[in-house]
């Protein structure tokens, strides 16, 4: 029965709902249908895993916080910061 349920959605439509699915933003009905589909369909299962992996990799990109600013600007900012500091 859950097998039938899984075929209520086509792969071509499922791939557009992956982010909604991962965010928990779909309605209960859609969510259950997608879970059932993923149990049956290797292609979609792999696709969803790859979207997860993509998010994971994005989360490991360096933030470049320190390299954000050219040296001269960083010096100006430090000067501004020191000037602001209560003595």
């Amino acid at each position: 029965m859950s097998g039938e349920r899984g075929w209520e959605i086509d792969c071509i439509d499922l791939v557009e709902l992956v982010t909604g699915y991962l965010e928990g933003a779909l309605d209960e009905e859609q969510h259950v249908t997608i879970e059932a589909h993923l149990r049956l369909c290797d292609g979609c299962h792999t696709y969803v895993e790859q979207m997860r992996e993509t998010v994971n990799i994005l989360g490991h990109l360096p933030l470049h916080a320190a390299q954000d600013l050219p040296d001269q600007i960083r010096r100006q900012l430090l000067a501004a910061f020191r000037a602001q500091r209560p003595r």
């Binding site: 086509d10 557009e16 792999t46 895993e49 994005l58 470049h64 600007i73």
Partner: protein
């Protein structure tokens, strides 16, 4: 921050000035910062406000209501990877050749391989501006969806569309990389 700023303004130099002004704003405002939002959200709000003001001056901001076509519509996966809708057996399902192949990720590597990092950075840089903002704030900076909606003043639905489209493009870039590696 530079990456976020770059989404709003037209040049790298302009984006650097936005980041600089943001820090100045942070320094000036720090005394009045109330802990109603996280410090990070607060800093990004200043950044986005400055970047937007500047972007308007540079005539480059796009109102959300008219997202460029490549930002908001169309399939995120090449339709030729699916059987057509009149297929007698499996309409709308992956074709054998179109089915995603598992990636040979290396869990033991632990830290991200430099190659992959560069590839994903480049893919993010290549995203259309609105998608880039959302992907960077959500996935790279790790803000939650509520924070991002508030910062960029967009609905949860719009944010999700942009996030989905941006992630799908980054995934596609990784797919090309991994399939080349197998071949």
């Amino acid at each position: 921050m530079l990456r976020v700023a770059r989404g709003f303004v037209s040049t790298e130099a302009s984006a650097q000035e936005v980041v600089q002004d943001t820090w100045l704003g942070v320094i000036r405002g720090l005394a009045s910062f109330e802990e109603r939002s996280s410090l990070r959200t607060w800093v990004f709000r200043i950044l986005v406000n400055i970047a937007k003001t500047r972007g308007v001056r540079e005539q480059r901001t796009t109102p959300l209501s008219c997202l460029a076509a490549d930002e908001g519509t169309g399939p995120t996966v090449d339709p030729s990877r699916f059987r057509d809708l009149h297929d007698p057996e499996w309409p709308g399902h992956w074709t054998p050749a179109g089915t995603p192949r598992r990636w040979d990720t290396d869990p033991e590597a632990g830290i991200l391989r430099g190659e992959i990092r560069d590839l994903v950075s480049a893919a993010v840089e290549a995203l259309p501006p609105r998608q880039k903002e959302v992907v960077v704030l959500r996935d790279v900076q790790g803000l939650d969806s509520e924070e991002v909606c508030e910062l960029l003043r967009m609905t949860a639905g719009n944010q999700r569309v942009l996030l989905h489209r941006g992630r799908a493009k980054v995934r596609a870039a990784l797919e090309v990389y991994y399939s080349r590696e197998i071949a």
